[in-house]
Structure formats: C-alpha cells, structure tokens
Symmetry: C2
Subunit: 388 residues, 2 copies
C-alpha cells in the first residue's frame, strides 16, 4: 500500500441553514477543498460521496453525489455514493484512502454532506431514526424525539450504573465541547456554560438534557487525498491508518474498540502517542465510553478522565477541539469529514485559538447506527504531520 496524503480540506459552517440547499452546501465545501489543495476539480480521478438522509429529507433517494457535484466541473469520473449512517463521511474517506493507497487513483475526492433541517421538524427526527433496524424499531415516537437518542440514553444509563459516572460528568463533556466550539468559526454552538446550567436545561430523554444531545445541523465537508507525487512540497499530512468495522451481532466487542485496535496496529503506535483526538460524541455519554474504547482511559475510567481536564484544550490530550458533535454540530453524513478537517488543521498548525501546540499525530473516530448495546459501524483514522 502506498502512502496517502491529505492535500486539501474544506467545510461549510455547521448550523441550521434552512435557506441553503444541499447542492449549495456541497459546492462550497468542494470548492474550498480544491482551492486549499491548489488543484483543479478537473484533476480529480474519482469521488466517494457520503450522505445518509438526502432521500428522506430532500427526496433525492439516488445519485445524490452526481447531481450535487454536477455544477462543479468534475470530469466523467466514477462517483460512488456511500452510506454508513452517521459514519458515512469517514466511510467515504476510508474508500478514497483505499483507492489511493492501492494505486487505483492518484487524486480522489471524499465528500460528506447533509441537510437535516426541515420546516416539519418531525421529518428530521424521523430521518435520524432510519439508522436502526426497521424490523425492530417502533413505528411511532413522541414528537420531537429520535429513537436513536433513546437508544443512546439506555446505553448511558447502563454505563453510569456500571462505572459510577454521574449526570454531572455528562455535563462536564458538554461544558468542555462548548468551550472548544466557541473557538471554531465553523461550529454551530459554543460558549462558556456551567455544569449546573447544563443539568438545568430541558430534559430530552433521561438522563440527557438538551445540550447532552447532538443537534440538528446542515453542512458539508470534504478532503482531497493524493499520492506522494501530487502532494505539494513542504510539510504534509499523511494517513497513518484507516480502519472500518461493522457489528454483525449486538453485544460482542465494540466496533470502535475493534476499529481502534486495527488502526493502532496499522499506524504502529498507541493511544499515548496521540496529540489530539476527535470522537463521535453523538451524546455526551458516548464521549466517555469512547475514551475507554480508544484506550485513552482505563475501562470504567471515562469520568475520571473528563474530570482531570486532560481532554480539555490546554490539557495533555485534548479531545474534540472542534467542539465535537455536541457543539460543532452533526449534519450526519458530513460529520466524519468535519472531524478530519479539524485533525488536519491541528497538524498543519492552522487551528487558530483552539490550536494544540506541537500537534503531530491526531486520531478521528466516527460511528454510525445503533443496535442492541453498540454502534453498528465505526471508522478510525490516524494522521501524522510529516516535515519531509
């Protein structure tokens, strides 16, 4: 397998953007990415397009990539529409990496885009519910509720009982990620909150209050992956590892643990070597569990880690410097690439007020769907800044 470099990154702001179309958002992210790479869209050799709910939200059930990219001047290249629920964008990036690493193509575009807002808010929640097995999902839910968040809440309660994690610990994740979010111009939310404020907010589903759940967002993000030959001179960000796993049977080892183990082996390093990390905090509790699944904390040690401050900017191993899903926002088919945009910015040293000094190695973890007690899919990437 060849070395693969990230030559360009770009994203829209993540926010509720009812006045913009999915095509408009996609175009902005792709144009920014190609400009960042200093390359022409006509040089792209194939494209992997990640999206999860355009069908239910916009009616574009098929060929979203081709129709959304049409105005941009791509050649008659293969365009592959890929979907893995909330892990769609990292799946697109993984397959783009695979194509470049394997020598199939030298310049491949990975795009993730999603428009979740709708005049009928129930449509947005129903769309998110499409990531659970339709044969077992309830047909009706109270208005304004997503079955997926119900499942996250159930898992959170089990986790809290098993580990002694409190609702205040969940609130600490929110406080951290909103603090980070205010430093990210692309983030949907951000600001200084207190644990008490988060706990006093409106309950969505016990034990979660409003800010403990990732929001409804619109946005797009993209990256251009290239082989060494097409990589601009100077420092560059390379993909040390790209690992995807799916869970066929609920209750087995978590897919994130499996994907992380594969990624660490591929990269030849471990959790202690990471300078910054982006994880899939679809709910505040998820971030704590993922600390453990990635080996950043001992089993059961998620709450101790958030309390230590080590994962806050200024700490030893900042997590979700972008604001994470909770504050940066979660347009589901775009999230995985927004994480990668943040990781690459950190390694380039261009993350502005949220820069982790000297960051050289970054990890991203993006998960999708829920069944039983685990995510259905998880994709882990590790990136390194190379100076050669």
């Amino acid at each position: 397998m060849r070395d693969v470099y990230v030559a360009g990154i770009g994203m829209t702001r993540f926010a509720k953007q009812p006045g913009r179309t999915l095509k408009d958002l996609t175009g902005e992210a792709v144009v920014a990415t190609m400009k960042d790479a200093g390359q022409s869209v006509g040089d792209v050799q194939s494209c992997y397009f990640g999206n999860a709910v355009a069908g239910s939200m916009t009616g574009q059930e098929m060929l979203a990539g081709q129709f959304l990219l049409r105005p941009l001047g791509l050649g008659e290249i293969p365009v592959f529409n890929v979907e893995n629920a909330c892990a769609s964008a990292s799946t697109a990036f993984h397959l783009a990496w695979q194509a470049v690493a394997a020598g199939v193509h030298d310049a491949v575009l990975a795009v993730g885009a999603e428009k979740m807002t709708h005049p009928d808010k129930a449509r947005s929640f129903a769309a998110i519910g499409g990531s659970v097995d339709v044969e077992t999902a309830p047909a009706d839910l109270p208005a304004g509720r997503s079955f997926l968040m119900d499942m996250y809440a159930g898992a959170a309660l089990r986790y809290m009982e098993r580990t002694g994690t409190t609702r205040a610990d969940l609130a600490r994740v929110v406080v951290k990620n909103h603090r980070h979010g205010q430093l990210n111009p692309a983030a949907q939310y951000g600001g200084e909150l207190t644990v008490d404020q988060v706990l006093a907010a409106r309950e969505i589903v016990w034990p979660f209050t409003l800010q403990m759940c990732s929001p409804i967002s619109d946005g797009a993000a993209a990256a251009l992956l290239v082989s060494r030959d097409l990589c601009p001179a100077g420092p560059a960000v390379t993909v040390l590892a790209s690992a995807a796993r799916s869970a066929p049977v609920a209750g087995m080892t978590s897919v994130t643990s499996l994907a992380a183990a594969a990624a660490y082996q591929q990269a030849g390093l471990g959790p202690a070597d990471l300078h910054c990390v982006e994880v899939h905090d679809a709910a505040a509790s998820a971030e704590l569990l993922i600390y453990e699944q990635l080996g950043l904390a001992e089993p059961g040690g998620g709450a101790a880690l958030i309390r230590s401050g080590n994962t806050t900017l200024g700490g030893s191993q900042p997590v979700n410097t972008s604001g994470g899903l909770l504050a940066r926002g979660h347009p589901i088919g775009a999230t995985g690439l927004a994480q990668i945009v943040e990781a690459v910015a950190q390694l380039r040293g261009t993350a502005g007020g949220r820069q982790v000094p000297g960051a050289r190695i970054a990890l991203t973890q993006n998960a999708g769907g829920w069944h039983g007690s685990d995510n259905v899919a998880s994709v882990v990437h590790i990136f390194e800044r190379r100076t050669a």
Copy 2:
C-alpha cells in the same frame, strides 16, 4: 493490480414477491453464493452492499447492508452501503473487485438487493423517480407512471427519428428477451410473443407498450470475489475489466461508451471478441442504443442488428440471454449482479437451455439514472473463463 476471480454466484428468482422481506431475499442470495463458492461466510473480509430504494420502499434509509446481512454470521468486517441508482449492484461489484485487485482483501462479497413491490403501487413508481435530479423533476405524475420511463421514452423518440428505427424494432427486442427469459428459471417473465402482440399491448408512454418497459420486481443477487490463492482449482472465471463512469454534464459522450472504451482497453480486446453480452434494457429502445455504445453495431445500426437475429440465442453474439431487464426482471439495486450471475454461468457452461456454446468471454453493462439525454452512471465488466 492482481487478477480477481469470481468464486461464487447466487441469486433469488426475480419476481413480484410481496410475501417476502428484503432480509429474506438478501439471505437467500448470499447463502447460495457462499455454497456455490464452497466457502464459509465467516471467511468474507469485507462486503459492498448495493441497494437503491430500501429507504423509500421499506423505511430502512441507512445501514441496509448491516441489518440485512445480520442473520448470516458475517464477522465484524467492514460493510459498505453503496448506491448508484439502477447501477448500484455493478458498482458494489466494481468496488469489491477494486479491493481484491489492489490487494486490500482476498475474499470480498458483493451483494445487490431490492424490494420494489408495495401494496401502494404509486410508491414503487415514485421510488424509481428518485433517480432523477429532484431540483428539476416534476412533483406530480399521473398514477402508475415513472418519470424515469418518460425520459427513456423521450430518448427513444429522438433515437427513432435519427436512425429510422421503428416501434416494430422495439418489439423485436421484447420478443427476443422474453424468448430468452422462458429458458431462465430465475426470470420474472418469458414466453413466445409476436411483434404484433407486443405492439397491441397497453401503451405505457408513447412509443412504449407494456412489455417494452422493465417491470417492477423483487430480488437479490450476489457474488464472491477472490484472489488467485482462494480460487478453487480447475476452470475459473476471472474479471478482465471493471470500469465505472458518471456523467457530470448532460449531452456529452455517453457514459456507457466511455465505460466500454475503458473496459475494452483494460481487457485488451474489442466488441468482436465477446461471446455473450448482458445489457441494461430498462426500456426496449435502450438495448438498441447500447448495441451501438458497446460497438456491437455501427452508429445507427441498432435496429439492423436486432433484425439480423445475431443477438438472439443461436446467433453469433447473443445479448441478454438471461431475459434482460425486460423479462428476467429489474429489482433495481440487484440487477447489475444478476447480469454478472448470468455472465459467469455462461462462461462456466452451466446456463442450461440458454447456454451459448463455447462461451469464453462475456460483457455486462449496467446503467443508472437519467439526466438530459443520457444515463448518469454506467459500469461495464468483462469476464473470461480460464482453464489453467
């Protein structure tokens, strides 16, 4: 790139199967494929799952592959949901081929599955309409009509005017494919029709009568792709070429012509070398146009070729021995793999009453979507039987 072999094939019957679920159909095709390959589902290293309209038909908008494959005992492997409208299954096969050819994995499963029937027939037609750009598609259509077939009809009228092709020529395609279909136990339709009978059938949209349009179907098909090491001893079918193209701008060179040119170059052969061919006859007129795009006929020579009888079983270069989309059926996300199942059966010499004697090289062409005057995506494969 390494040689890639098709170690196993399997499919359900294609038909209206209102009593069966998508999970049931998927399972039957995958179990048959693994049995045919003599390998265990636990040995599969990754899976590309093609589907186009499960979201609109069943509500499973996300993670269809993971949930549908769950009962079968796959390991915690990467599962990628891929979609390219009616070319979804060949796209899944193309990406599976890419993974094995590039050395990423040694045993990869490609699956295509679709359930199109619904108690509310309008749902089926609306789902097909999801393959055109939602920003330009009409919001409402007469009941029982698909906008996609309207677009095929418009293209057919232009083709007929340009080439002198008649409605009787379109009927000849139907007569041939139904004759082939009656020899295929997996086909939805089949039998001896006359040109007059086809012309006298109910008009769907001028110039098409009922049998000139591919039907609503339910079904699944799959293939196991392996590297040389995992290929059973004896004669084997190898993938000589796999080429995918998408059309970014309507009115340029057809995507099928481009994909075919790339495939011929990759395989180092031309149209005269093919012993049998499966094409995407979504409408009868499409088969004639594809004859030209594949170089089986001169430009404008599609009608002369169907009249010659050369593409009928017993002729020099039989096309759609399976019955094609018109008679074998068209569960859209499964069709591309059903074509490949037919090609492999022909090369193995196991095609029964529709066997092309001595077939050694076969081509499949699968297209998806429509914009302006052309399909949006097209995928062409070329296969060869090797005796070594």
